[in-house]
Symmetry: D2
Subunit: 108 residues, 4 copies
């Protein structure tokens, strides 16, 4: 694998996992009414993170452009998750903001 991509792939896969966990947990929350945007962003973010990881792993000629998109989605998802007090949201916000940062560097 391209060593350049190693850190970014790791951040994407960790963010994918945090988002899918948060998605499942949000769907079970008592006050799901508050979690609408979080559920929506979690799905979106998990899916683009998986897409970005695949692009880097397979040396896509569009890896940088995909990482730029991934950074934008991760930033938005992390900002949404950071509004909530649930542990799964806090963990997800942290993984998203980390991934946004690493993807931005990759895309630069």
């Amino acid at each position: 694998m391209n060593q350049t991509y190693e850190e970014c792939i790791k951040a994407c896969l960790e963010c994918m996992e945090a988002c899918n966990n948060c998605y499942d947990a949000c769907l079970k929350e008592d006050h799901i009414d508050m979690m609408r945007e979080c559920i929506r962003m979690d799905r979106e973010c998990a899916d683009i993170c998986a897409f970005a990881a695949k692009a880097m792993q397979s040396n896509s000629p569009f890896a940088k452009e995909i990482c730029q998109l991934c950074a934008d989605v991760c930033q938005a998802c992390g900002d949404e998750c950071a509004k909530h007090e649930h542990d799964h949201c806090k963990r997800c916000a942290e993984a998203c903001h980390k991934c946004a940062e690493v993807c931005r560097e990759m895309a630069a």
Copy 2:
């Protein structure tokens, strides 16, 4: 469904199909040595087209940004396919260039 998206979703799904068909046919060509880039771009383009269709169908807040990426990949895949004489490549080039145009309008 959002009516605005209807034409673009259709173009993405038709491009996805043309790319997946071309991918399969390229893998069976006698002179596969010539088809390396076509195989690679077909997979990439089919996958981003599916991703863009999903984004529009589910009213993603990132639909426009995803369509911009999709337009870039479709343009590159169409340009690659247009270099080859196989019917599947010609059909794919046409679907890719059409989708690139519609996605660019959507992203504008």
Copy 3:
């Protein structure tokens, strides 16, 4: 494209669209508390339908096995959607049950 697959690909893509539409609409419903399972199944079903369409379009050696899985998910998603009175749920239930039937035939 393989003519055998044509009807099944069409059913999968229509089901994907109905599920993604229903997912978006469920996330906006007043009584989202009632829609938890519908949201979850819509995502799952949309994603496996896209996966099955790709498999058939690219002549995957696993197309039949993937269609069997798709049939099971479509059946469960259609059964869940059929419990609700919203138009988007009724349309989704219909698309899911249709797709389940066509996928079962494909897998047989």
Copy 4:
């Protein structure tokens, strides 16, 4: 995250990476004519591994059935990769056979 799934998610993500790496490397091999099936299986396997990881991470009610499908694809991809002498194929065969085993246990 569900602790039960931890090992299986890890195996799927490692297999996804090995398959995407092998796919890219096969597309660059001098004797690409020999690598047709390997390219095809690598894409298929990488994609189902990503799908299975997502299913487990989000507590899908179909996680077991998806892992059974994943096990079958991993076994076939590993068997194909094991026919080739390239380092990327050997590494991929190992990751695939490991993932097939863990997925089979999960599905049981």
